[in-house]
Subunit: 398 residues, 2 copies
Amino acid sequence: MPYYIGDVIQDEKKLIARTPEKFRESGIDAQIHARVEGIDPAKGEVALRDGRIFPYDVLVMATGTSAFVPDLPGLDLPGVVSLRNLEDAIAIKTRLKEKNAKRVVAIGGGFIGLEMSEALSAAGIATTIIHKDPLPANRWDAALSKVMLEELKANGVEFVGGASARAIEKGKSAPLRVLTDRGDYEGDLVLLAIGVRPDAGLARATGLKIGSTGAIAVNFSQQTSIANIYAAGDCCESFHRVSRRWVNVPLGDIANKQGRVAGRNIGGRPMTFDGIVGAQSFRLFSLQCAATGLSEKEAVDAGFSPVSNITWGSAMAPALGMRKIGLKLTADRSTGKLLGAQAVGAAGAVGRINALSVALWAGMDLDQIGYLDLAYSPPYSPSWDIIHNAAQALGRLL
Amino acid sequence: MPYYIGDVIQDEKKLIARTPEKFRESGIDAQIHARVEGIDPAKGEVALRDGRIFPYDVLVMATGTSAFVPDLPGLDLPGVVSLRNLEDAIAIKTRLKEKNAKRVVAIGGGFIGLEMSEALSAAGIATTIIHKDPLPANRWDAALSKVMLEELKANGVEFVGGASARAIEKGKSAPLRVLTDRGDYEGDLVLLAIGVRPDAGLARATGLKIGSTGAIAVNFSQQTSIANIYAAGDCCESFHRVSRRWVNVPLGDIANKQGRVAGRNIGGRPMTFDGIVGAQSFRLFSLQCAATGLSEKEAVDAGFSPVSNITWGSAMAPALGMRKIGLKLTADRSTGKLLGAQAVGAAGAVGRINALSVALWAGMDLDQIGYLDLAYSPPYSPSWDIIHNAAQALGRLL
């Protein structure tokens, strides 16, 4: 969504306007902008707020997430927005256009805040990011987050680390001002990007089992605790193959897979969703950022004895030039099995994290990873890839 | 090596001149340009052509490959060259410079010929490629080779397919002329790039077991059939984990791994080289080309019942634009296990082939691959990656 910022507002409005029609064309009775008031699983009925009742044989919960909104004075001021759906994006773009916006203040320096700063920069709008920790993207190793910080600076993004927003009020040089314990920052729009929470209120009210993550608990067929109610997407949990725990990772690719699996089971062609390994990525200007598996903290929480290293290298053979890449690996001290990886680089970070995601899926150890057969060619790696170097170096620390 | 063409001749000459000195600095008694006449494994002696004898406790064969040279009249003309080592590269560059070369005729349209055309183009020199088959890179599916052919044409490389060289003679408009059954082609230099053969003559004369590939047979410790003689690199075989046969794949990354394993075993820290899956890649101008595992033909030869498909897609989410990528998957009909993959694309082909190489290493089937957790982000893939789409589509064909 962040990438749409620019000049396509009209198309998006058309897209939304055409949605009911498209459903009709597919023979689907879609109730757009209909709010569900309650579900009666005993009767098999959904009640809308407008009083209408819809009976069901099978129900799918796909309620997604809600943006987490902090408790701040001034949240109701016009131009204070969060990101959830296409309508939010349209509203943001409309305001940026109307105000001929020069600067946005983003509260939150996680990957959504970072991606937004890039999208806004592409539209000629500067960003100030207010972030509670000293470095962006907390889940990442500080050494890698520092590379992200350099990339932000190189692209004119103002990053205010270790700062807490206290209030939002009207500004002087711009319509809005964010007051923090590290100074005040003004902009045409204030974006709340401090994370999302699974939208499980309706599920809870219906009596569905909610997992310890706060998301809807499901089995491997995407069934909830009530057999004819399924759940898919950001509102429900996934099985993490590395920690072997149920987690809530609100990402679009996982949601797509879960939806497909739910549909297959409902349609009578059974299939299981065999879980995730935590693979994720984002682009930050010219930097690829990607991670998979567990962070060290998550590894400790899951009962492993993690040992980590960071290896710096090039995503191409030195003879051809340097494309800096940093790779952090985390493994279990007792078994040598890979537990997680994080990479940032000018090139090749996503590809390497994908290869390591498959290694995690298969439960490989560092000895295997250190000698994996990868598609070597000078434009894409040295003859020993950074994956090999990192795995061998970490293996020596076990 | 092809990438060095340009203006670094002097540096390379210095590099070669410094080699003996560098060995001395490391305490290694290196005999540069010393030709081995024979090996006496019973006595443990190496005899040089100049009569000197070197005793050994352990010997390593690392004789590499020789360029395959066709039987053509005119091979001895100045400017008819093949590619093996740094000295060859220097000779080529020196001639190109001296002749103020405008065009090179390459005999052979495998990946070395293709890479050379790119390197020459970067140096402002045009290339004509004479190739025996209608499309470049025979081992590749025709649909993917066609994309390579388009890339060659778009970059001004003349590709003469389905042509056999008959002779080389002096040219009229340029120093050399290659006569083929599909016309004659002139250039300042003729490059023989029709493949390499393992250089196993000395090993054979020594009585070492030679594999059915013509390369030196080794075990998982890189030992040859004589226990205190090891072999590593292009001159020896590797175990292919997919075909479960011993093969000869002369690539630099494999050679590096084998060398390390041989060294570990000789040094008393035993280690096995657990084989390859056939991962390889090359760049062709702005095209990434990468493959892994078995081709259909190789799969049939190994006793599998292969079934394949080709999927076309984008290496980024459609909302962000199109970066065309084509992915061929081959799987075994009876088990659904992946056997091989080939990809060409403007981006992301190498990364995807690396992920699939890990899947091959682990012996994954299409059901697993179709739902792998990969690091999704719109700049790097749609939410269903082409890997997922291709694996699911091929799974439906089983």
